[in-house]
């Protein structure tokens, strides 16, 4: 039950005094790596503070249970929390929240993938959250985009995502699990009625927002001002994603260079 408020009214006031006014991206992405799963065509691993997500992408395959021809390819996305990733043990069956996240993941990635390049085929994207310390969906979107790029799936741009939590007049960029549950309940003192979580996916090169998912309840001004904050956060994550891809490509080129050198100097295998 990720959306439910787990803090009682007494605890929230205590929590509010501890959490400061975080309006900027205080927690930066710690660790991003591509090519972590050898059996997958493309894969990526991301660690944002304590949230750990691994994602792998496989070669296009036939769309199961489909008879007609479709001009555009399809993306099949699956988002799953590992049973031990959250505070409460999660069952192996995907529940409603995970199914919704799979939908959001697909909607964020679809605009960026050149689907006309693989007509009538489907590309599988699987994201698994190993440890959830908040903003798991945003981390999964960023990770999935990198995995798609690592798998050489043609794309228009990399997609990056960020989460913003709103509680009263405080905004938390990239909230932790506790901050997320705080943002799901109304501020107790009645000063402001804004609370909620916004996850947004952005393609900075084309300046396009590919997904904007908001929950909770807030004024329209709060929602529109958050768009600017999320955009800025996405731009900073974008640089990291680009660097990571660059590292991956340089490593692969060096490996290919070494292989070519070896081929020329080695003997042929006896047939």
């Amino acid at each position: 039950m990720d959306r439910t408020a787990t803090l009682t009214k007494k605890e929230t006031s205590g929590h509010e005094s501890q959490l400061g006014l975080d309006t900027k991206a205080d927690r930066l992405t710690d660790h991003v790596k591509t090519g972590v799963v050898s059996q997958a065509k493309g894969s990526a691993y991301i660690e944002q503070s304590n949230t750990k997500v691994v994602c792998s992408v496989f070669d296009p395959r036939e769309i199961p249970r489909k008879s007609g021809y479709s001009v555009n390819g399809e993306l099949y996305c699956e988002f799953k929390f590992a049973p031990f990733s959250c505070i409460q043990w999660r069952s192996h069956q995907p529940d409603a929240f995970e199914k919704e996240c799979s939908l959001i993941l697909r909607r964020s990635l679809e605009p960026a993938v050149c689907r006309h390049e693989f007509p009538n085929f489907q590309v599988d994207v699987y994201a698994l959250v190993l440890e959830n310390d908040g903003s798991a969906l945003a981390a999964a979107i960023t990770c999935a985009a990198l995995a798609l790029a690592d798998a050489s799936v043609p794309m228009y741009d990399l997609v990056v995502a960020a989460t913003l939590g709103v509680h009263g007049d405080k905004k938390f960029m990239d909230p932790t699990v506790e901050e997320e549950s705080l943002c799901n309940i109304l501020p107790p003192d009645g000063r402001s009625r804004n609370h909620g979580i916004i996850t947004a996916a952005f393609s900075p090169a084309h300046q396009q927002m590919s997904e904007f998912a908001q929950s909770g309840a807030m004024d329209i001004d709060c929602a529109t001002s958050s768009i600017q904050l999320l955009r800025e956060a996405c731009e900073s994550i974008y640089l990291l994603s680009q660097q990571c891809l660059l590292k991956g490509v340089t490593k692969m080129l060096k490996k290919k260079q070494k292989e070519i050198k070896l081929d020329l100097s080695s003997d042929r295998i006896a047939c």
Binding site: S38, Q39, F58, K80, A82, S85, Y126, L130, E131
Partner: protein
């Protein structure tokens, strides 16, 4: 050119290598792949371990829950092991219900746990007939490149050794439970089983610690579980028959490996400071 030859005649490709006494990845027949273990990295789990054997990666997370003990065993808690082979670890697994291999692996792990007696279920009981610990041991494979069961057993044992359970007191008359998360007791792990997988290639050649490719090309696979210098179980699901000497050779190999793995796990846990 080598890659073309490999995709057209994979078995012959391997035979040519093995004729020279070496495997395509450079190892000889009895050599194991490097193992790396990382423990206690997942803070949401009570105990966790990540094990990498070559390219194979398995993550084990242990979550503890309180529940009433089973009616037929009122003085024991219980372990719920489960092996998950998600589609992300290999292209041969599809999304949906657990595959045959996942179910067989879960069974294997459950049997290994009971037959090796690595955790005494009495330790998990808090109040007989009323309250006991249930440990959900979830093993997720992130990358399947052969020797899955080896990695699973190492991950499970390492994770169990890092589990710290909070102190629980149960009042039988009032039926109230008090959990103190600050006071934590380490779980007692009495025995540490180690599994080793062997592949039989062409009915004759024994390969230790096969990769996924080698497993699929070989004519038989066998896993031996060893613990405390004694043989715990041998799992040989069909495949080419083995002679007595070959089996003995495998058991010896498994014994030596067990020593090495146990040393490695001990070193990792010591560096954790536990």
């Amino acid at each position: 050119m080598a890659t073309c030859y490999k995709s057209i005649h994979p078995v012959k490709y391997y035979r040519d290598f093995l004729a020279k006494g070496v495997r395509p990845d450079g190892r000889d027949m009895q050599k194991f792949r490097p193992v790396s273990i990382n423990v206690d990295s997942i803070k949401t789990a009570e105990g966790s371990a990540i094990v990498k054997i070559g390219n194979t990666v398995v993550v084990c997370g242990i979550k503890a829950e309180l529940a009433a003990p089973k009616a037929e065993e009122p003085n024991f808690g219980y372990l719920v092991p489960n092996v998950e082979l998600p589609p992300l670890c290999s292209p041969r697994f599809c999304p949906g219900p657990p595959s045959d291999l996942a179910q067989v692996s879960s069974n294997f792990i459950a049997e290994t746990l009971t037959s090796s007696g690595c955790v005494d279920l009495k330790d998990l009981c808090i109040a007989p007939e009323h309250l006991a610990w249930v440990l959900h041991c979830d093993l997720i494979c992130l990358d399947h490149d052969g020797s899955l069961w080896d990695a699973c057993v190492i991950a499970l044992v390492a994770a169990l050794r890092t589990v710290k359970l909070p102190h629980v007191s149960y009042d039988v008359e009032a039926e109230t439970t008090v959990v103190s998360p600050e006071k934590r007791n380490k779980l007692q792990v009495h025995n540490t089983p180690v599994a080793t997988t062997f592949a039989i290639f062409d009915d004759e050649i024994l390969l230790t610690d096969p990769t996924n490719e080698e497993e699929s090309l070989s004519s038989g696979v066998m896993t031996i579980v060893v613990q405390g210098g004694q043989l715990c179980s041998v799992h040989k699901p069909g495949g080419s028959p083995l002679t007595e000497s070959q089996l003995q050779e495998c058991i010896n190999g498994a014994m030596k490996r067990a020593e090495y793995i146990n040393k490695l796990v001990n070193m990792t846990l010591e560096s954790l400071g536990t």
